[in-house]
Structures are given as C-alpha cells and as structure tokens.
C-alpha cells in the first residue's frame, strides 16, 4: 500500500502531530497573547488530537507494529529508545481520544478564563508526553516522557489560580509527584547499577546473561530498583500507596483536567508499566535474580488499591471525589493485568488494555458531567445533583450510562473489559484477586447506583429553573456515552487489537 514509501520516523506521526499542535498553540499565543478566541484554540487542539487519533487508528488498521506478513513489524527508532508497536498505537488512541473529548468539553468549561492559550497548549503538551510514554522503550525516554506529561499536569491542576481548591490540589499533586519521581529516578539508577543498561531490551538481555551466569551480586539492589520503578508507575496510575494525591487533585482541578488525568494520564502510566515489566523484566529470569516473583507486588497492589479506592468511594458526599476514588479503584482493577502476567497469557493484560480504552470513554464522560454540573453551578454533592434528570434528561441518561458502565453492568462497554479482567484473573489463578474483585464491584455498584439514584430517583431539594445546554460539553458527553454503548456490540475489534498488542509485547 501507499504507506510503505513513508520513512520510518513517520511511524511517530501521531506523537509529532500532538507536539506540533502544542507548538502551534504557543505560536498563536505569542502572536496575540491574552487571546480568548476559544473557538480557534479549542478547535485547533481538537483538530490536532483528532488528527493524531485518526493517524493512530489508520496505522493500527494498516498493521504498523504488527508482526506477520500483513503487518510491518515492530518499528524501532533511535536504536530502540522509541518503539512503535500495536500497544503503543493502542495507548496513543486512548490518550488522543481522551484529549479530544477534554478539549471539546473545555470549550465551554474554560469560558471566560484568563489563560486560554496556555491551557490548551499545556493540555496538548501533556498529551504529547503521554503519547511518548506509550512509545518509550528505554528508561531514559520513559523518564523524560513521564516528566513531559507530569509538569504540564501540575500546572493544569493549579490553573485556576484564584481557586483555593485548585491551588491546594496542584500543590499536593506536585509535592507527591516530585517525591515519586525522585523515587522513580533512584529506582532507575539502581536498575542501571544492577544491569548497566537503560534500554529495556538491553536490560532484559543483561538479565538473561546474569541469570545464565553467576546471577550477579546485585539481586537486592535490582529488586529495590524494580520496586522503586513500581513506585513511579503507581504514582502515575494513582495506585496505593502512591494514590494520596489523586482524590484532592481530581477534586480540586478543573473537571476536564480531572477527566484528562484520571483517564489519559492513568493509561499512560500503565503503558510504561506494561512496557517495562514485559520487555525489561521477564518474570522467570527476574524472579531468579531477585529471588521473588515481582507479580506478587502487583497482586498486593491490585487488591489493596481496588479495596481502598472502592471503600473510600462508597460514602463520599462530593460527587467528584467519589469519582476520584472510583478511579483509584479502577486502577486496582487494571493492575490485575500486571498481576496476572505470571501466567504468561496475553488475555489478562489485553483485558487491562481494553479496560483502559473503555475507561477512557466512560470515566472521561463521568468527569465531564461533573464539569457540566459545575458549569451549571448546581453544586458538588449528591444532594445538589438530586433530580437533575427532570431538567436535563439527556445528560442524565448519559450519566447513568457512564455509572452502570463503570460498575460493569451490561449493556455497556465497561461490562466486557471488567468481566474479561475477572476472567483473566481466574485464568491466571489469582483467586484472591477474583474474590476481591467480587466484593469491590458489589460495593462500587452501591455508590455508582447512588449517583444514578440522585439524578433519576431523588426529588430536587431546591427548585431550579431550566438548565443551559453548552454545546461543547454536551457534545463531548453524548459522544462518550454513545461510544460507551456502541462498544458493547462493537467490542470485537478492540478485543482483537488489545490481545494482539499484548501478545506482541509479551512474546
């Protein structure tokens, strides 16, 4: 096909498009600062992210990074510092989807805000960082990409400079982020010390050698290093015990940013985790060296994370905070994907990837509904949401879709991924995790249903007059909802893509 003439670096096109958009926005900002031309700004970023999305989808369909005769094989750039494979594209798709939704929604949400251009360019920069994380194949690139994603995020969280909540959120996010990245870097240094390499495949090769040989004298060091790396990922994915920033950050940040962080940033965190632990630290070899199977760490993290997240969410009064905790809980679900790697089957990790994609729609949508509520100014607690369905049935129907999908109740996309995770856990023989999953999803059912109850069942405590229908927010929410529903019948391709991608990296 026509594609083959393109040079190899073109495989990075999605990332480059995102970066380009970010720069374009900077240019625009410097040309006429303090511009509040939301249409242009939001439009540009939307177009950029959608373009990136389109390209990524096209690549996936065309078989970039897919081995075999119909594919082009995994494309490695800069001697393997960057790799473009199915998993990379998959997560680029997740990131770009979320970005697109967020920027469209921000069109209304950020109305009348002073720093329009900055906002959008930061979003695009963070997106670039996340997309890069998806492709990063060396601890160096991973770290850089991570920071590229993190630094704008700190700023974005705190962008409502006169809003104490936003600032507090930014502070907490930043401080814990700095701490975690310090730990992360230290972990990198230890791994480097133990192996002498930072490029993932090289590390793996070295470990093979060590395992084959005397086993090296850095077992403990390596183990500690791996653990610290896990810490870094745990921070990005808001997993216990590195989750403490999440509730405040999501609650304090502007709703679209919360959506952005809780969906895209989480996905990015997971992709690097997947990449590092599948490529650099093969279970058996590493196990020999550090004397313990690192999946155990993820088993523990998964159980603890989902439990903490769901239990803390159950009795929240503030909707946004409930969603924040629920997103911690979902991090716990996805962690099963890593915990189950021991079984050597791609099913469980594939399920995790599927979940992140679906989550990109349903969770973003949920946070955007909160954004809509903040736009309406109805308040933040469950009580404030009471009876919204009478004024805004469509948005509330969408909310119900998001909630039930998050709870994993059919007929919505969330059902597949969650139950595939359950299936994967069972396949990997993680009985404990499966049980925890049952308990937690029962509880999650309770609080998700509680929100549905608030908007659909309860009667409003205050009389409100009709609510506006901001185009951007509504568009984003409806699209997200429609996608969440469509993903039930149309789950086949996604499952195939995810499983294929997982199979590639695991092999």
């Amino acid at each position: 096909m026509a594609f083959v003439e393109l040079p190899e670096w073109a495989a990075l096109a999605p990332v480059l498009i995102l970066a380009g958009t970010a720069l374009a926005l900077f240019v625009f900002d410097s040309v006429n600062p303090h511009s509040t031309n939301r249409a242009v700004l939001a439009g540009t970023s939307a177009v950029g992210s959608l373009a990136a999305l389109g390209v990524a989808v096209w690549f996936t369909a065309a078989g970039v990074g897919a081995p075999g005769m119909d594919g082009f094989g995994v494309i490695e750039l800069f001697d393997g510092q960057i790799v473009v494979d199915q998993m990379a594209l998959f997560f680029i798709i997740v990131v770009t989807v979320v970005t697109a939704l967020v920027v469209v929604a921000s069109y209304d949400y950020m109305e009348g805000h002073a720093y329009q251009a900055e906002y959008y360019s930061l979003v695009m920069l963070a997106a670039t960082g996340m997309a890069t994380m998806a492709t990063a194949n060396s601890l160096v690139t991973i770290f850089i990409a991570l920071e590229l994603a993190s630094l704008p995020s700190y700023a974005l969280v705190a962008i409502l400079k006169d809003n104490r909540g936003s600032v507090e959120a930014g502070l907490k996010y930043f401080l814990l982020g700095a701490l975690s990245s310090a730990i992360f870097v230290y972990g990198i240094s230890l791994v480097y010390g133990a192996t002498g390499f930072l490029q993932l495949d090289a590390i793996a090769a070295e470990l093979e050698a060590l395992a084959a040989g005397d086993g090296g004298d850095f077992g403990g060091l390596l183990g500690l290093g791996i653990l610290m790396l896990i810490g870094g990922f745990a921070f990005k994915t808001a997993s216990v015990p590195f989750h403490f920033w999440a509730p405040e950050a999501y609650e304090g940040a502007p709703a679209p940013i919360s959506a952005f962080l809780s969906s895209a940033s989480k996905a990015a965190g997971f992709v690097i985790a997947f990449r590092v632990f599948t490529t650099a630290f093969p279970v058996d070899v590493t196990g020999q060296l550090i004397g313990v199977d690192w999946t155990l760490a993820f088993v523990i993290l998964a159980v603890v994370t989902m439990t903490v997240g769901n239990f803390a969410a159950a009795t929240q009064e503030n909707v946004k905070r409930m969603l924040a905790y629920s997103s911690i809980g979902h991090a716990g679900y996805v962690l099963i994907g890593l915990a189950g790697l021991g079984a050597g089957s791609e099913l469980v990790m594939g399920a995790a990837m599927m979940h992140l994609l679906v989550y990109g729609f349903m969770n973003t949508g949920a946070f955007l509904f909160v954004g809509l509520a903040e736009h309406w100014g109805v308040g933040r607690t469950f009580e404030d949401y009471n009876g919204l369905s009478r004024q805004a049935p469509i948005a509330c129907a969408a909310l119900a879709v998001f909630m039930f999908s998050l709870a994993g109740v059919p007929p919505f996309g969330g059902f597949w991924s969650k139950y595939f995770l359950f299936t994967g856990a069972l396949e990997a023989g993680l009985l404990v995790v499966a049980v925890a999953l049952v308990v937690n999803s029962a509880l999650s059912l309770y609080y998700y249903a509680r929100l549905v109850k608030a908007v659909w069942i309860e009667d409003p405590i205050v009389e409100r007059d009709g609510l506006t229908q901001p185009t951007g927010l509504y568009a984003a929410i409806v699209v997200a909802a429609v996608m969440t529903v469509v993903l039930l019948p149309g789950f086949g391709p996604i499952a195939d893509a995810a499983l294929e991608a997982a199979a590639v990296v695991i092999a």
Partner: protein
C-alpha cells in the same frame, strides 16, 4: 341405545352452560338466571334417567374422552408412560347417582324460585351461577372414570361449597364459615391428593374400571407380592387407601373433620339441602363406593372406615340432641347419617351403603327444604323454641316434613328404615366375627335411639304445641315452587325403600332386592365393579345368631325398638302445648355436648392458637435474623468505608509519610521473601 351415550357429556355440560349464562347475563334475565338453571338441570335429569334406562337395558359406557396430560414415567410396578385423562364411566352405580344428583339439583332450583327470588335477594346471578357450577362439577365427579378426574371435580365442588356458603358475604359469619368449610375439607384433600399421586406413581394408572385400572393392578401386585415403595403390597394399598380416605372424611364430614358442616349452615337453606345434605357430602361416601374394589383389598382400611363411620354416627347424633336451631339439628343428623353409610361400606355392605346414600339424599333434602319452607314461614327465624303450632297453618310442609322425619328416624315402612336396618344388619353379621366391627355396630345401634329422639324433638318443637312467637302466629305463606319439590321428595321418602326390601326378601325368600341385583350387575355392569365381585375380594367372615332369618328379625327389631323409644321420649318431653328445655337435667355432659365436645375449639386453636403465632414468629425471625444478616453486611462495609476514607487526612506531609510507610511495607514483604537483606 348406543348413540345415547354420546350425549353423556351433556349431562354435566348443561349446568356448565347455565353457570356461564347466569354469570354473564344473569342480571338481565327474568328470575336472575333461575330459568337456565332449571332448564339445564331438567335436561340433565332427563338424560340421566335415559342413562339409567340404558344401563337397565344392559348397556354400560366406559370411554376416555380427553387426554389431559401424557408423559413418560416409570411407575413402581414398571408400567411405562402414564396418561392422565378425562373419561366417562356409566355403570349401575354412577347411573343411579346421576339421577339422584340431577333430580335433587332440579328440585332445589325450583325451590329456589320460591326461597331466594321471592325473598328479593341481591346477587342472585352469583347464586344460580354457583348452583350451576356445582351441579356441573358434581355430575362430572359422579361419572368420572378415573381417580384424578374425580379428585379435580371433588375439589371443584369444594369451591362451589365455599362460594355458596359465603353467599351472604356481607355478614361476618358466612365468610368465616365458608373459609372453615374449605380449609377443613382442603386438609382432607391434602391426604387425598397424596393418595392420588401415590397411586399414580405406584400403578401408572388411575382408572377405576377395566383391566388397566389401579384396582386390578393392585390385585395383581398383591397376588405377586411385589414390593411397592418399600412396603408389602397389602400395606401400601392400605396406606394409599387411607390417604384417599382423608379426602372422604373431609368431604363427608366424618370425625374428626366434621366440624365444618354445622357452620356451613350459614349458607342459604337451599344450598344446605343440595350441597351439604344430599350431594356434595355424599361425594366422599360415593368415592368409597366407586373404588370399593380397592378398599376391599385392605381389611384394615375397611375396618377403619367402619369404625370411623359408627363412631361418627353416634357422636354426631348426640350433638344433634341439644341443638335449638332447626338447621343445626339437621346438620348433625346429616353427619350422623353419613356415619351410617361409612359403617355400611366399611362392613362390606356395599348395597346397604349405596341404598342409604340414595334414601338419605331424598329424605334429607326433603327435611332441609322443609326446614327452608319453615324458615320462610317464620320470617327467617330458625330457633325452634320460637316456633310451634305450624301443623295446622302449613299442612303441606308439615306432612312432607313428617315423612322425612319418619324416614330419618328409621321408622318402618319409611325408606330410611330399610336402608339403615340393612346397614346395621350387615354390621351385625360381620361384627359377630370381628369385635371391632361389633363395637362400630353397637355405636350405630345406640345412635338409632338418639336419631329418633332428636328427629321428633325437632318435629314437635316446630309443628306441634302452641305458637311461641308472633311469627309463628301468622306465618308467611309459601308458594307452589316451594310445595311442589316437598311433595315430590315426600313421596320418595315414603316409597324409596321399596328399592331394596332386603329383610322381607330374606324372610319371605322373595327376590325383590332390586337395588342389590342392580348393583350386582344383573342388568348390566362393568366387569369387576359389581357387588358380587367386591364380595369375592372381601376378607370378612360372617355368622348369624341362629339362622339368617332370626338374625334379620333381631337386627330389625332392635333398631326399630330403639327408634320408637327415642321418638317416644321425645313425644313425652316435647309433644306438649308448652314444651320446656330439659338440657339442665344433663348437667355438665349437656354443656360438653352443646359445645360439640370442644371439637371446634381445638381445631380453631390449631389454626389460630398455634399456626398463626408460629407464622408470626417465623416472620420476626425472617425480619431480624435472615434479613438482619443482609443488612448487617451492608452496614459493616459502609462503616469500613467511613474508616477507610479517614486515611485521607488532607495534610500532605502525612501523605508523604503514609506513602513511604506503604512503600517500605511492600519493600519488607518482597525483600524478606526475596532475601535481599
């Protein structure tokens, strides 16, 4: 004649049509649905008589008409596949019963014109619909050719009884009585249903007649000594037989399930006459007669039937003695009379039992209708102490009622005498061999005295002496529609005995026992369903006091003597201008008897004193314990959630600390497992 039987289904279907018509259009019809009822029952009567004639001419009819449900099931005797069907069995017994039922139903319909319509009752369509449905069910039950069909219509007549007892539902007592009637009989039917299921599961068939009948199957099983459900065949037959008997005891108001019948008098008197005297209550006894072959296989069952019958006969008769409500007296006498029939069947007196069933149907219907007309006369007063002196004012009612009374009391030559005497005679000759039967006979005999007594107490209090209320002074006149049925039944009560003058036959060596030969299939019958066939199955020894004829004379003499003495005592006590109560003479016994030996009390206690509190306790248990666990779980998790979120103190330094702690904990776990330190 063949073609005639094709109309057999119509016998039952006519009343069904009447039911539908009355229910649907009753309100817009003249007489509120009485007319269709009368026409339908009349039609049934004619057809039944035609059937009777057909059977007399030697025809019988046994046809499966409809397959209700078919399926594979391996019965305990190895029969593969089972069919539950509806079919018609017309043999001497059922033909006779058809005529009885349709005749009385017809008369009651006619009587109702005078009794219900004339009184301007509301809800008459409901009443006639009920009657129609009842007649349909009863007739269908009568010629059912298998046990399941019999059970179904057995239940349906129970429903009709419920609906008609509760006809005056706006009162408090009627619904209560209706409920009691249905519940008590339902309790019996519970055992009946187990019996049906058991028999079906055992023999794979429920047919009454023919080679594939469960009776035949049971015979062969006993012959081969096949183990049935882990029991010896005789035992199992006894068990199943007794289970079915449960339904009989309930429906025929035998002890201890007799308590519903007196309350059932809450219904209109016509209903009492039709359902609670002549027909539905007879269903139980009829069922025993219908499957007599089965019981004949089990002496134990028969003995129990006989004893229960004898006991009930006496037990109920004593209670009838002290009642003041004319309908109550009749109710207890009904219970008692059915006791006689059970006794008769129990001792193998198949003919005697059926004979009494027929006679009783006539004279008890007569008495109830008579009582009904009395009640009309008395402006709906039922207390006999408020009556008296109606003899002159209502001659027709009086003479017909008297005929019924004489029959009931068993005074020669009225019909009741012949049948009751035959029962007692059969009981005696068996009893001379079997002590337990002798006991039953003794009770039956004593009951004769009480019967005579309460019957004439009733007659004298009602019709003789001086009027004891202004209602009795100038009674409300009654119309032809009331008189006509009384006359018909009165004649029958007088002459029906001719059907089977057994004592005469035995003494004079004449062959005039028509009923016996009728039931013995001399005119035609289905093989195996004859008196003779049953006789062969029966295991009873019989013997006589001296010769047969002496025994006959002794038996007849004794019972007559007792009947007359009972009547005589009543004469002396109550046939006076101003009769007075004599209960106090009985003292504490009288109290007990008046309270029906506290039968109702303990049964009510079982329901309301035991079951209801038990259920309330179960409810409390359910609410607190079972549901408590469920709610407890949710409470616990929400509490846990409340604690869990306290982790998030809001102070970022704590977060750092917790973060590091958590990390170190993880480090320790893995480190120790991996031996890093």
């Amino acid at each position: 004649m063949e073609g005639l039987f094709d109309y057999a289904p119509a016998i039952a279907l006519f009343p069904l049509v009447a039911f539908v018509v009355a229910l649907a259009f009753g309100n817009s019809l003249p007489k509120k649905g009485a007319i269709p009822g009368i026409l339908a029952t009349g039609g049934s009567l004619l057809l039944s008589i035609a059937m009777l004639a057909a059977v007399a001419s030697g025809e019988v009819y046994h046809e499966t008409l409809y397959e209700w449900a078919i399926g594979d099931a391996v019965s305990d005797t190895g029969v593969d596949g089972v069919e539950f069907t509806f079919g018609i069995l017309i043999d001497p017994l059922s033909a006779l019963m058809l005529v009885i039922v349709s005749l009385i139903a017809f008369l009651v319909h006619v009587f109702s014109l005078g009794y219900m319509n004339a009184e301007g009752e509301t809800g008459l369509p409901r009443y006639y619909a009920g009657l129609g449905l009842f007649t349909f069910s009863m007739l269908a039950f009568v010629y059912a050719d298998n046990l399941l069909m019999a059970f179904m219509f057995f239940e349906l007549v129970g429903l009709c009884s419920f609906l008609l007892i509760g006809f005056w539902f706006r009162t408090r007592s009627a619904p209560s009585a209706a409920k009691k009637a249905f519940l008590v009989t339902r309790f019996g039917d519970y055992f009946f249903l187990i019996g049906v299921v058991a028999i079906a599961a055992t023999f794979g068939t429920l047919q009454f007649a023919g080679d594939d009948s469960f009776v035949a199957a049971a015979e062969t099983a006993i012959a081969d000594g096949t183990t049935l459900f882990g029991f010896a065949p005789e035992t199992w037959v006894t068990i199943t037989g007794l289970l079915v008997l449960g339904g009989v005891v309930g429906k025929s108001a035998q002890f201890p399930l007799h308590t519903w019948l007196p309350d059932a008098m809450e219904g209109p008197t016509t209903v009492s006459a039709l359902i609670h005297a002549a027909t539905m209550v007879a269903a139980g006894v009829y069922l025993v007669a219908r499957m007599f072959g089965y019981y004949a296989l089990s002496p134990t069952a028969l003995a129990i039937i006989a004893f229960v019958g004898g006991f009930t006969a006496l037990f109920a008769a004593t209670m009838g003695v002290v009642k003041d409500d004319i309908k109550q007296v009749l109710a207890y006498s009904t219970i008692s009379q059915y006791g006689y029939m059970m006794l008769g069947l129990g001792v193998g007196g198949y003919v005697a039992g059926v004979f009494h069933l027929m006679n009783h149907a006539f004279f008890k219907a007569l008495l109830f209708l008579g009582a009904g007309s009395v009640i009309v006369l008395m402006h709906h007063e039922q207390d006999m102490w408020k009556m008296g002196g109606l003899k002159e004012k209502a001659p027709v009612t009086y003479w017909t009622f008297l005929a019924g009374a004489l029959a009931l009391a068993g005074i020669i030559p009225f019909s009741g005498f012949w049948s009751k005497d035959e029962i007692l005679y059969d009981a005696l000759i068996v009893g001379l061999e079997e002590p337990i039967i002798l006991a039953a006979y003794a009770m039956g005999l004593v009951a004769v005295f009480f019967t005579g007594f309460y019957t004439f107490r009733m007659v004298f209090l009602t019709f003789h002496g001086e009027p004891r209320s202004e209602a009795a002074e100038d009674p409300h006149p009654v119309g032809w529609s009331i008189k006509a049925p009384l006359i018909v039944l009165g004649v029958l009560a007088l002459v029906a005995g001719v059907a089977n003058l057994a004592p005469v036959a035995k003494l004079a060596q004449l062959d005039i026992t028509f009923l016996e030969s009728w039931l013995d299939g001399e005119f035609g019958a289905i093989e195996g369903l004859t008196y003779g066939a049953y006789g062969e199955l029966l295991a009873y020894e019989t013997s006589y006091i001296g010769t047969e004829s002496t025994t006959v004379l002794i038996a007849a003499g004794v019972s007559l003597l007792l009947a007359f003495s009972g009547a005589g005592v009543a004469w002396t006590l109550y046939n006076v201008p101003e009769p007075v109560e004599h209960k106090e003479r009985l003292g504490s016994i009288g109290k007990t008897v008046e309270d029906n030996y506290y039968q109702d009390e303990y049964q009510v206690w079982l329901a309301e004193g035991l079951t209801l509190p038990l259920s309330r306790a179960a409810d409390r248990f359910d609410q607190t314990v079972v549901d408590g666990v469920v709610n407890g779980v949710s409470t616990a998790s929400l509490f846990g959630s409340d604690r869990m979120k306290r982790l998030q103190t809001g102070i970022v330094t704590n977060y750092a600390a917790l973060l590091v702690t958590g990390f170190i904990a993880l480090l320790l776990v893995l480190g120790i497992l991996g031996g890093w330190f």
